[in-house]
């Protein structure tokens, strides 16, 4: 019982450190993680993010998103896309980094809110999307392996990335990006 009491006190103490607004915190966190990922993926330190006004086609697996053009002082080197996809009972945010030719350079789960299915945040698992980057479509179970116990979120992020890539290619063919 003492152990249980200790855990309760521990949880309350930890919660006292938490800032009031989680949403604001999450926004800042997403921006920080996005910048960090851009720096390490493209090996640059100075860049600007310019939000695109044009949007992708929303779908059941792409409920929200933002597109940013990554600009250096002289050049535009690619895109950062932050997208929202559904998990079993909630939603999660993930980041895609692409070069100017829309080749996928990085996939990262930024915020996963639910305990169930969080295995998709695994760096090793996400690296499959880069190894299969030349294919038109990612297929769950084929070029994207399953994760036991996380089927719903695995299917969701696979479908979501497919939706992003399809929509991006369409925009590119129309010279809109």
């Amino acid at each position: 019982m003492k152990k249980i009491l200790f855990l309760f006190i521990l949880s309350l103490s930890l919660s006292a450190w938490t800032p009031a607004s989680r949403s604001e915190r999450e926004s800042k966190y997403i921006l920080k993680e996005t910048k960090k990922a851009i720096s390490s993926t493209f090996k640059i330190e100075r860049f600007l993010l310019e939000q695109e006004t044009i949007l992708l086609t929303s779908s059941a697996f792409l409920t929200e998103h933002s597109i940013f053009k990554i600009n250096t002082e002289t050049d535009s080197i690619g895109y950062a896309i932050v997208a929202t996809a559904p998990s079993k009972t909630d939603s999660f945010e993930y980041l895609l980094l692409l070069d100017s030719s829309l080749s996928l350079k990085k996939v990262k789960v930024l915020i996963y809110r639910e305990d169930y299915g969080g295995e998709i945040s695994s760096k090793r698992w996400l690296s499959q999307f880069l190894k299969s980057a030349n294919v038109d479509t990612y297929v769950y179970g084929d070029n994207i392996s399953a994760i036991s116990g996380a089927t719903i979120s695995v299917k969701s992020i696979t479908a979501s990335i497919n939706d992003v890539m399809d929509s991006l290619r369409t925009l590119q063919s129309q010279n809109k990006i």
């Binding site: 019982m1 152990k3 249980i4 855990l7 309760f8 949880s11 930890l14 919660s15 938490t18 607004s21 989680r22 949403s23 604001e24 999450e26 926004s27 800042k28 997403i30 921006l31 059941a60 409920t63 929200e64 998103h65 933002s66 932050v82 997208a83 929202t84 559904p86 079993k88 009972t89 909630d90 939603s91 999660f92 945010e93 789960v109 915020i111 996963y112 809110r113 305990d115 969080g118 295995e119 945040s121 695994s122 760096k123 090793r124 698992w125 499959q128 297929v139 769950y140 179970g141 084929d142 392996s145 399953a146 994760i147 036991s148 116990g149 996380a150 089927t151 299917k155």
Partner: protein
């Protein structure tokens, strides 16, 4: 009541574009939406904070900045469920047709950090249980505190038992006789993920099995610990038990689990001072699941070691074993192309488990408790979340000429 109906209408209207679509995936199904509105009328009675949640949602929406990307589900109710209707025909006996279980999931998200999850289970139509009821408090993305009625993390099926995610009409028998699925007790603990090493951890303090209710001993040789589950119902507690699990999924297609449980059973007041009323228990579980394209395989091993069983058996007249052991291996193959939404999975499973793997000095091993089963069949997933199943089982024991067959069919859903 009128107020509640108006409130729910408002709830749907204001959240239609993001919340309801992403939560219920029902943007094209107005009938279901009406049904859910009716359900929500009932649920609203116990969620008086609904009116504020609408305001909060709007407030959060207006606060969204920088990325305008966090719509998700700031707050709200989740509905879900799973169920299975089964037909079992043992050799030379009548068939049994049963709604084996129907489980309704309700979740409520108070804010982005605090979520309540409960599952109400109807077994055989008429028995009602609460299968889970806990509050999850997310401290960071990798650390949650959970408290309430929770599933004990042991093996695969006790945590992942929805009918669309395991093969076979019936759950593996190992997960009935050695690991007493659905094994749940009230407790508190930590869970989370370590993304850099592709791992998940869980560590809980739980209430344990009830071994003596003051009148008789509940644990016995035929089904081990199963009858001692307290399930959170006016449960008695004299000893804290520890349960933990570590899952590793860093090798593509493979998921490995290591589970541990250690503690002592409970006896009611006045009984727990009598020697033999309580037994010590340590359980170890190893499980693995592997998927490669259309092929999948899984296996599980569990061993439980019990102490003071001689004293317990002497006091109660029971025949509880001092070691319980079991394992199963299963291989499966989906014969349909990947591009199909449907899957037709053929499988074969072998199980070997023994609730008298070892016994104390004063009882002898009952060979009928050493059971072996073969199951051969298929799961036809007609949609993600809906499955038809059919299989044939042969069941035998360590006693010669005891093999019996059983034919099973079933339909299962999970949403």
């Amino acid at each position: 009541m009128l107020f509640i109906i108006i409130l729910n209408s408002l709830f749907f209207k204001t959240r239609d574009s993001t919340f309801v679509q992403s939560l219920f995936r029902l943007n094209k199904n107005s009938k279901m939406r009406k049904t859910l509105t009716l359900v929500l009328i009932g649920l609203t009675l116990c969620t008086y904070g609904q009116n504020t949640s609408v305001q909060d949602t709007l407030q959060i929406s207006s606060n969204q900045r920088i990325l305008n990307n966090l719509a998700g589900i700031p707050q709200g109710i989740t509905l879900g469920g799973y169920g299975e209707v089964l037909y079992n025909k043992p050799e030379n006996l009548n068939a049994e047709i049963d709604i084996q279980r129907l489980v309704l999931l309700f979740g409520y998200k108070f804010d982005e950090r605090v979520q309540f999850v409960t599952e109400i289970e109807f077994e055989h139509v008429k028995e009602v249980y609460v299968e889970q009821a806990f509050v999850n408090y997310s401290l960071t993305s990798g650390l949650n505190i959970r408290a309430g009625l929770m599933l004990v993390p042991m093996g695969i099926i006790n945590e992942f038992h929805e009918p669309t995610i395991f093969n076979g009409v019936e759950r593996p028998s190992l997960d009935k006789y050695i690991i007493p699925t659905t094994w749940r007790e009230i407790g508190i603990g930590l869970s989370g993920r370590l993304n850099s090493i592709s791992a998940r951890y869980q560590a809980y303090l739980f209430n344990g099995f009830l071994s003596h209710n003051g009148e008789s001993g509940l644990l016995k040789g035929s089904n081990g610990l199963r009858s001692g589950r307290q399930k959170g119902a006016e449960s008695t507690m004299s000893n804290v038990n520890f349960a933990g699990k570590f899952d590793f999924y860093g090798i593509r297609g493979l998921r490995l689990g290591l589970s541990g449980y250690h503690g002592k059973t409970q006896a009611v007041d006045g009984q727990n001072e009598i020697p033999g009323s309580q037994v010590g228990l340590s359980m170890l579980g190893l499980d693995g699941r592997y998927t490669l394209k259309k092929f999948s395989a899984r296996g599980q091993y569990a061993i439980a070691s019990l102490s003071d069983t001689d004293l317990y058996n002497e006091l109660t007249g029971r025949d509880l074993g001092s070691k319980l052991m079991g394992y199963y291996l299963e291989a499966a193959y989906n014969v349909l192309p990947f591009i199909n939404k449907q899957r037709l999975v053929g499988f074969v499973r072998y199980e070997n488990y023994n609730t008298h793997h070892a016994v104390g000095e004063f009882i002898s091993k009952n060979e009928a408790f050493h059971r072996k089963e073969w199951t051969l069949g298929f799961s036809y997933h007609i949609a993600p979340g809906a499955v038809y199943k059919m299989d044939y089982q042969t069941k035998s024991t360590a006693i010669a000429n005891t093999t019996k067959g059983q034919f099973n069919m079933g339909v299962g859903i999970w949403f």
